[in-house]
């Protein structure tokens, strides 16, 4: 299995898989509208787009997890339809999801043939046959895998090979891979690419979804750009530059009129983070937050933005780094300490990590301050809570018939405001807002933006984490861009554009190649003094 094999198979110009005018809506979102896409025989087609551009939806339709509202799929010119992933596989379409679909406690062979194990005499499994067939398959694909190894003990790269081997064992004609290299180091990426080149033949093709521009250059023949659920353009990889791809990815015009003008370099620093690292993802993250400033955190999924927030409020342990609040170095072992220091975190997942859904608006607003503001000798002062809740309802414009309304009956935007109200009741000076408008309808978004702007104008310091670039650009005075657990750049208001942020967000680390090496560079307890190295 070498690169030479694939070089002999030049892509033809006939369509293997065609996506023709496919639309799909989920409640509240038009995920795909009139999508077009053409995968040719013998090619690797890269599909790129921002977070939420519609890539995952397209995958789900192709694999039969969801059904399209309109439009068709053609396989070799013949209409293709799958009601579930198994049907899709049987017709030759296999998908490698970003999240592996393996049973960690079973062996490689057991995983490869899960649900279609060779049997002897009805109910008994034939382990010898199973292992032999698995070994045959692995040999045929030129992989290095032990059929008897337990999947959970393998490296991520090997697990992915198991996934790929399983997909190919169905005699796949179209292989779709979603961010296949997200967890791989450079050497492993090479192995994967060899595997892809080996798979591609005049009767097969690969759809390769990725953000890594350098990889697309190496592996793909053409690049299709999608944005906001719609087809934008298809480019020949060889004659295309990265900036051209990025400009098509972000393309939409955004309202910059509301952008904050004044850079607040003269304001005192309220929060400073140096060399923050965590066990799994974050490496040497440093930034400063000034009073009255909105600091944006941008990056792709999995870049580590939420992890920074969680580490800051003590929800995840940190392995290295220094956190300074109002000039004093602090240790934050839990969110209780963070709250004491005036740092409030509004999770991206309000329902799981923010609200007590079955409880009232006033209970939710009072929660963080029950122990100090709203009680005397342990007895709760319900009248004070009510007063504060009513004040918050007025100040934040929370639409609710009463402060005694259960929070689950409020709309997303109003739920978000309730959590804001909680931290304002606690007199927090630093708010970390993770995906402030996720699941909130467009009208209410503006209200949240205005609210955050007002709070900053009143001297609160705010960190806004968002996957939506326009949101970050609109709100933030400065933008910190992350990729793969590191800060890849910091942009002032004049430098931050969709293009410049995207470029930093898609930077793949060159070195260190593996997590182990990265950890070796950052032995526990010797933090932060290597700034500037990265």
């Amino acid at each position: 299995m070498s690169a030479a094999v694939s070089e002999q198979t030049a892509p033809s110009s006939t369509a293997l898989l065609t996506v023709d005018g496919v639309s799909k809506a989920f409640p509240g979102v038009q995920a795909l509208s009139d999508m077009h896409l053409e995968l040719r025989h013998g090619e690797v087609l890269a599909v790129v787009g921002e977070n939420g551009a519609g890539k995952s939806t397209l995958m789900k339709l192709l694999s039969g997890i969801n059904q399209a509202d309109s439009g068709h799929f053609l396989l070799d010119g013949v209409p293709f339809h799958a009601d579930n992933p198994k049907e899709a596989m049987e017709q030759g379409i296999s998908i490698i999801h970003q999240e592996f679909n393996l049973v960690p406690d079973l062996t490689v062979a057991q995983n490869l043939f899960l649900g279609r194990e060779p049997r002897s005499r009805g109910w008994f499994t034939a382990d010898r046959d199973l292992n032999r067939q698995a070994a045959d398959l692995i040999d045929r694909l030129g992989l290095v895998l032990d059929p008897r190894a337990v999947v959970g003990t393998l490296t991520v790269a090997k697990q992915q090979m198991v996934e790929i081997a399983r997909a190919l064992s169905y005699d796949a004609r179209v292989l779709i891979m979603d961010e296949p290299t997200a967890a791989l180091n450079d050497a492993e990426v090479e192995v994967l690419h060899d595997l892809i080149r080996g798979f591609v033949s005049p009767r097969t093709g690969v759809i390769y979804i990725s953000h890594r521009m350098d990889e697309l250059k190496r592996i793909s023949n053409r690049i299709t750009v999608i944005r906001d659920g719609a087809y934008i353009d298809t480019l020949d990889t060889e004659s295309t530059t990265m900036p051209q791809v990025i400009s098509r990815m972000v393309g939409r015009a955004i309202d910059t009129s509301a952008r904050p003008e004044n850079v607040r370099a003269d304001r005192p620093v309220v929060l400073s983070v140096e060399g923050l690292s965590t066990k799994h993802l974050l490496r040497d993250v440093s930034f400063e937050l000034r009073q009255g400033e909105i600091l944006g955190f941008a990056g792709l999924m999995g870049a580590g933005r939420t992890e920074v927030a969680r580490a800051l409020v003590g929800a995840d342990p940190i392995t290295a780094g220094r956190i300074t609040v109002d000039g004093k170095e602090v240790r934050i072992p839990n969110a209780a300490k963070a709250a004491e220091l005036g740092i409030g975190y509004l999770s991206e997942d309000r329902k799981h990590f923010g609200l007590l859904l079955d409880q009232t608006v006033s209970s939710n607003i009072a929660l963080s301050s029950l122990g100090d503001k709203f009680s005397r000798q342990g007895f709760v002062d319900d009248r004070a809570i009510r007063r504060e809740a009513e004040r918050a309802v007025t100040r934040l414009g929370i639409k609710t018939p009463s402060v005694e309304q259960e929070v689950k009956n409020l709309s997303g935007g109003n739920q978000q405001k309730v959590v804001v109200g909680r931290w304002l009741a606690k007199d927090c000076d630093v708010l970390i807002v993770d995906e402030p408008t996720r699941g909130i309808d467009v009208g209410a978004k503006d209200e949240i933006y205005r609210l955050l702007n007002d709070l900053a104008a009143q001297g609160k310091s705010i960190i806004v984490i968002s996957s939506e670039l326009p949101e970050v650009l609109r709100l933030a005075h400065r933008v910190v861009v992350m990729s793969e657990g590191r800060v890849t750049g910091e942009l002032g208001p004049d430098e931050a554009t969709q293009e410049s942020v995207m470029e930093l967000a898609t930077q793949r680390r060159s070195a260190p190649a593996t997590v182990a090496e990265a950890e070796a560079e950052h032995p526990e307890g010797s933090p932060h003094d290597e700034r500037g190295r990265a």
């Binding site: 929800a315 209780a336 079955d358 929660l367 122990g371 342990g378 018939p401 005694e404």
Partner: protein
């Protein structure tokens, strides 16, 4: 109470105002229903046997509710956090043995001995809380371990023999004595009433109570809101332990002896009382009044069936059926409410 005009409220989800009213009504109904079934059961027995409604028998019923009631009160807090405490039954027996050891064996003065026995219960609860909150053990496992250890220790400490409080008649008065001479109102019932009041105040009026509900409602969110969930869980399990200690004192005072081998099985009766009272094992919901009603239903059933001369074995069968019906009815109500 409406702070907004109608044009604003219409922008919230359409169902909001209606279901808001419905939910408070529902929770009242829920307690009302447990209360209603108590009335129905009591009425049935009153018709079946006129003795049932006599003052003496009502006091009997209350008197026999004391131990289960105390255990159930403490465990209500634990269950509202989404936890469970299996150690309260044998823990109670161990606390009784400790009371005997303190007062009879060591000769510690009665009030101090009682206090120490109750505090010992608190210590057992603290151990549970520590294992659950700090070590992260599932409550079922952590308290199962304590349950077994308490069972064993009660036998070890007492050398497997009952400890009799023959020389301290004052101890027996804690249960069977009457504060007002000549009026048949046993101290044990008084203790239960006071414990109910204290538990209700703790759950409804204090920060501890609010955190109990918050943890059960959404532990992660509560922690991220800056509440030291671990510490409060330890406090809550310790509180449950104090009630266990008190139950240990009351049961040994009633029997006149600390019986090391009794206790197992009480925890399930207590949990049954809590569940019949409408407290959700999933956490986040519950009430002291519900638990009191649940405990009363159990003792009314036992008492009434006894009066009807139905054997003990059948009483358990009927109790089991009542639990099924009560909890199923609760689920149906909730399902009906959530499908709107």
């Amino acid at each position: 109470m409406t702070t907004h005009d109608t044009s604003e409220t219409t922008t919230t989800t359409a169902a909001a105002p209606a279901s808001g009213v419905g939910s408070t009504l529902r929770s009242r109904l829920q307690q009302l229903l447990a209360f209603a079934s108590l009335i129905v059961i009591a009425a049935f027995f009153a018709v079946a046997n006129p003795v049932f409604l006599t003052y003496g028998n009502i006091i009997n019923v209350l008197f026999s509710t004391v131990v289960i009631g105390l255990l159930a009160l403490g465990t209500t807090f634990v269950i509202i956090t989404g936890g469970i405490d299996l150690s309260i039954g044998t823990g109670m027996a161990l606390c009784a043995v400790m009371a005997g050891t303190f007062i009879v064996t060591w000769g510690i003065p009665l009030p101090l001995g009682v206090l120490l026995a109750v505090l010992f219960g608190g210590f057992l609860g603290f151990v549970n809380g520590f294992n659950v909150a700090k070590l992260g053990l599932p409550p079922f496992i952590a308290t199962l371990a304590t349950m077994l250890m308490a069972q064993g220790l009660a036998l070890v400490i007492s050398h497997s023999a009952p400890i009799y409080f023959s020389d301290t008649p004052g101890y027996l008065k804690l249960s069977t004595g009457n504060l007002i001479p000549g009026v048949n109102f046993p101290n044990a019932v008084l203790v239960l009433v006071l414990a109910v009041v204290v538990a209700a105040i703790l759950l409804n009026r204090t920060v501890l109570g609010r955190y109990t509900f918050a943890i059960g409602s959404n532990e992660e969110a509560t922690a991220l809101s800056g509440i030291n969930v671990r510490r409060w869980k330890i406090v809550i399990y310790t509180l449950a332990g104090l009630f266990t200690g008190l139950a240990g004192v009351m049961i040994s005072a009633r029997l006149g002896s600390a019986q090391p081998a009794t206790g197992a099985g009480y925890e399930l009766q207590a949990i049954a009382a809590v569940v019949i009272g409408g407290t959700s094992l999933a956490g986040g919901k519950g009430s002291i009044i519900g638990t009191v009603i649940g405990a009363l239903i159990i003792s009314v059933l036992n008492n009434g069936l006894q009066l009807m001369s139905i054997p003990q074995e059948w009483q358990n069968v009927i109790l089991g059926a009542v639990i099924l019906v009560a909890v199923y009815a609760d689920m149906v109500r909730k399902r009906a409410a959530s499908t709107t």
